[in-house]
Symmetry: C2
Subunit: 416 residues, 2 copies
């Protein structure tokens, strides 16, 4: 069972918006055992869209398109679908018209003819009622293949996928049960991990695949199988997961597909521990990563963004003499920062980061990319110096990842 | 001059990562007058990649691929390119090997055979030296067409595009001169802006196009022309820009394509003003947005991430009675927060945000999405309540945008 996703609209091709819809749809389809073979972004151009439809039809059983269903002139998906499926006429879809009317009434906006057109649909499609917007989902069948056209507005698309499309696919296609497991690692590179487990990888049966998925500072290892997920296969994958983590005791973070800060929140939540931060060069990035997760307030108290010397002293009690003598980016300062956070913010654990993100501020003995990171609880402080590169954004992200990784290691030492 | 982008790797097709590389590349290519015709994401599968190459070659003059250049077995882009271009052998590229060695020496990691393989390149390609990673960029020519293969790691790709690919395209292809100007607006929607300038839009000459580019909480208006950018055309575009901003005095932020926080940093920097933050529900997002910009430390002192009641009182001096009586999400608290930030962090301006990002924490009179925002200087405090939706991430982003917009308005009042 293979699917293809086609996004229609110039806005992706000119780089105005990032196609996050496709990643979301791919994730949802994968969960039910539908493999996405290709994702294609095409322009608002009839010939181009028709070619994309034809190519996708030749490869996949299910084709989902998003976008191009708006009321303006450049939205031509509906017309193009009607042409591709040789529809005879456009019919008014009354339930959609009711929704259009309700939406315009709610915003007190005049209902124009172009808005009423939103409720017209090709005569040979099935309508997937969109309760949150004016463009309905459309479903066409051709031989054994299914085409579904959805609006590009993320929440409308998501709602239609979850409420209508997924149940419908499950009903229409005989889907294989799928199984995959992910290990999150941090602090080492892809090739190091590959070397550590090369015999395990070499001995994998043909039906189990291993993928290395690197991101700045972390690598996820994913084992997956395209076979029906029998109990035996699940047991085999799970056993391999255990074999792999045994090889990398100091580098694996979680046996699930979650980011490192979520693994930290989970572990700290289980042990009812609290966390604060003292961020200088990361400037809020660590806090932002943590607080994006619902429920983070159970663990995370907050902290200080201490960009200036003054705030380092005022919020964390860093001795001005220490700053004057050793500088803000030094072992002495970072230890005072992390201890100050523990004490002033009254948490069980704290993270402190101070570095030179760049592009300015480097010196011969402390070049751009020099970062001191400390993590601590009441019994132990770990302070470590890193020297990253010369790109600001990357230095900030790497510092955040390294700090979270150090914290995770310290947590494991005390709460394994 | 048309280009196509091909991203190679299962991680996009399974939804594990969002393809933000393509949007970035499309933006950069657009700037120099190269139109992206299609973006295609394919799996780590030789036959599939070869088909994608062939299809793209039939439509475009320039094909840029990213991904699949790592050291592990699932990375097959280099091998597949060698096959497509009928390379005879793989040669060691000494400058790349030096970089590989330097990187491994820097991180004190053992240099493995797979790492050395990174420096092997097809005999019939030109190498685009990647100074930041182990996978070099590869360039192949076929008739008048150019194929470029880049690593998928964003900063490596970005650096290669900016430093090598763009100059090379400009040199090899006869590109039309392009001219466009952008206005950043915040606080109002696309249709409101369209209404305000509808006569200007209707009167635009055929060779000048207006695009509305909305993002959460802000809309950019972009005027562009596909004509040779003569002095007369530039003057005409610039005049239209002035006409448009006259219509939206309270909503335009900048006459350049920069984010709102950068416009704030520029304005505050000019007037030597300082800023601090007191972030509750935005949890570091505002600080992170500001500090991603080089030189932000000249304006930004830092602030408090005050997730807990305790830190609201401790760092900002919010009266515990105020919190007990009115709650953390109230006008009374937000005013104490912003004044506390001004005073304790000793800055000219401060931002404070406190709200219920969700999904939990809502009450009948303060549902999820309720956010109080205040901005202040020593002479004035503006506090405003917003009610956003029920999505955590969106509520955080909208709160950050609304806070920055309020700050910009206050700044304009005092330093226009």
């Amino acid at each position: 069972m293979q699917a293809e996703l086609i996004t229609i609209g110039d806005e992706i091709l000119i780089g105005q918006i990032v196609d996050s819809n496709s990643a979301w749809m791919a994730t949802e389809l994968n969960k039910i055992g539908v493999k996405v073979k290709q994702i294609t972004s095409v322009s608002d151009d009839e010939a181009h869209i028709l070619t994309a439809f034809k190519d996708a039809e030749s490869r996949a059983d299910l084709i989902i398109t998003t976008g191009g269903l708006g009321p303006t002139k450049d939205d031509i998906t509906k017309k193009t679908l009607a042409k591709y499926f040789q529809s005879k006429e456009m019919l008014l879809h009354q339930p959609t018209l009711e929704i259009v009317k309700t939406i315009f009434a709610k915003y007190n906006a005049p209902l124009l003819d172009v808005n009423i057109q939103q409720a017209m649909v090709p005569d040979n499609c099935e309508v997937l009622l969109n309760e949150q917007g004016t463009a309905p989902g459309l479903l066409f069948k051709k031989d054994q293949k299914i085409f579904i056209s959805l609006p590009g507005v993320p929440y409308e698309m998501m709602n239609l996928i979850s409420a209508k499309v997924i149940p419908l696919i499950k009903e229409q296609f005989n889907l294989p049960p799928v199984y995959h497991q992910t290990i999150l690692t941090a602090g080492v590179g892809e090739s190091f991990l590959a070397e550590k487990i090369k015999d395990i990888e070499a001995a994998l049966p043909a039906y189990i695949k291993l993928a290395f998925l690197p991101k700045l500072g972390s690598v996820r290892l994913r084992l997956s199988t395209d076979q029906p997920a029998t109990a035996a296969i699940k047991a085999e994958v799970d056993y391999l997961i255990e074999q792999i983590i045994e090889r990398i005791p100091n580098f694996w973070i979680a046996k699930e597909d979650i980011p490192i800060e979520k693994a930290i929140l989970n572990l700290m939540g289980q042990h009812q521990l609290t966390l604060s931060v003292a961020e200088s060069c990361t400037g809020g990035t660590i806090s932002q990563m943590i607080t994006q997760h619902a429920g983070s307030s159970a663990v995370f108290a907050g902290g200080g963004i201490v960009y200036s010397y003054e705030l380092k002293s005022k919020l964390l009690g860093v001795n001005p003499d220490t700053l004057a003598k050793f500088g803000a980016v030094s072992e002495e300062t970072i230890i005072e920062m992390v201890n100050g956070a523990l004490k002033n913010f009254a948490t069980d654990y704290a993270i402190a980061v101070s570095g030179i993100a760049g592009p300015d501020g480097g010196t011969p003995d402390k070049p751009v990319g020099t970062v001191w990171i400390a993590v601590a609880n009441k019994d132990k402080v770990i302070a470590k110096k890193f020297v990253f590169g010369n790109k600001r954004t990357q230095n900030i992200e790497r510092s955040a990842m390294a700090a979270l990784n150090l914290l995770f290691r310290l947590l494991k030492e005390f709460h394994s």
